[in-house]
């Protein structure tokens, strides 16, 4: 059973979704992520979807779920890297992901998380961009 890798970067967790996700994989990710948040005490989660060329209602739901679950576990989630054609399609679908914060890229996502956490990040973050 494959898992989507979750990277720990200081207080943040970075999830880069690169494969064409099937439903089981998406559910597995939700499980893994909530576990990891608890184990690491991470306060922020970056969900990188820059490699996804399609987001349908199921994946949209997964994103909203992850965001919701993380919040309950006291972590903020930021969705980064949405492709223009995906954004346009989501708008057409009427799927606006309410309550999910978004940023253009990982760099800005981290800035957003930091200000959300209100803490200066001292941990060595290896270059991501």
């Amino acid at each position: 059973m494959e898992h989507i890798p979750i990277l720990q970067m200081g207080e943040f967790l970075l999830v880069t979704i690169q494969v064409d996700m099937h439903d089981q994989l998406a559910l597995q990710l939700q499980d893994d992520l909530t576990n990891k948040i608890q184990v690491t005490g991470a306060r922020g989660v970056l969900l990188d979807i820059s490699a996804l060329d399609m987001v349908d209602s199921f994946i949209g739901r997964m994103i909203a779920n992850i965001s919701g679950m993380s919040r309950i576990l006291d972590a903020h989630t930021v969705l980064v890297g949405m492709q223009p054609s995906v954004a346009i399609t989501l708008v057409e679908l009427g799927l606006t992901l309410p309550g999910v914060k978004t940023a253009l890229n990982v760099e800005r996502g981290m800035a957003m998380l930091r200000s959300a956490m209100g803490a200066a990040e001292k941990a060595d973050v290896s270059s991501q961009d």
């Binding site: 064409d20 996700m21 099937h22 439903d23 089981q24 060329d53 399609m54 987001v55 349908d56 209602s57 199921f58 949209g60 739901r61 223009p84 054609s85 995906v86 346009i88 399609t89 057409e92 679908l93 009427g94 799927l95």
Partner: protein, 134 residues
């Protein structure tokens, strides 16, 4: 109108949904759709394929590349012999769901394509046909 190419895929499980998406992406590109139009078609296909697998208890999708005069199009027909939809107008309302989730499958897909046709009856399965023109 003529059918230039036909491809039929089985939709039995989630892996098939992924394969269907990939096939529709490939076919949309071959039709010369813009990136946005490709994405819309693939997304609609994903929604309907999921419906077929989850609610229709499995079925097929027939992908046809069609030619009507000068314009090229892609027509996808999702068919299953599942329980069918009892109340179509309810199913087509935004936000309706019979399972878990947002249930945007049908209405969402309709917004992403040029032509949409739903043929269903309780007990006789469901057939959804969507078409996108270049």
């Amino acid at each position: 109108m003529s059918v230039v190419k036909t491809e039929t895929l089985e939709l039995r499980n989630e892996q098939d949904i992924v394969l269907a998406r990939q096939a529709v992406r490939r076919l949309s590109q071959a039709c010369g759709f813009s990136l946005v139009d490709q994405t819309k078609m693939v997304t609609a296909a994903s929604e309907l394929a999921r419906n077929t697998v989850t609610y229709g208890q499995g079925g097929t999708v027939v992908c046809e590349t069609i030619l009507d005069g000068a314009r090229t199009g892609l027509r996808l027909t999702f068919a299953d012999s599942g329980p069918g939809i009892a109340d179509v107008s309810l199913a087509m309302t935004d936000g309706w769901t019979s399972g878990n989730g947002l249930g945007m499958g049908l209405t969402g897909a309709k917004r992403l394509v040029n032509e949409f046709d739903l043929d269903t009856k309780p007990g006789s399965g469901t057939r959804v046909t969507i078409t996108r023109w270049k």
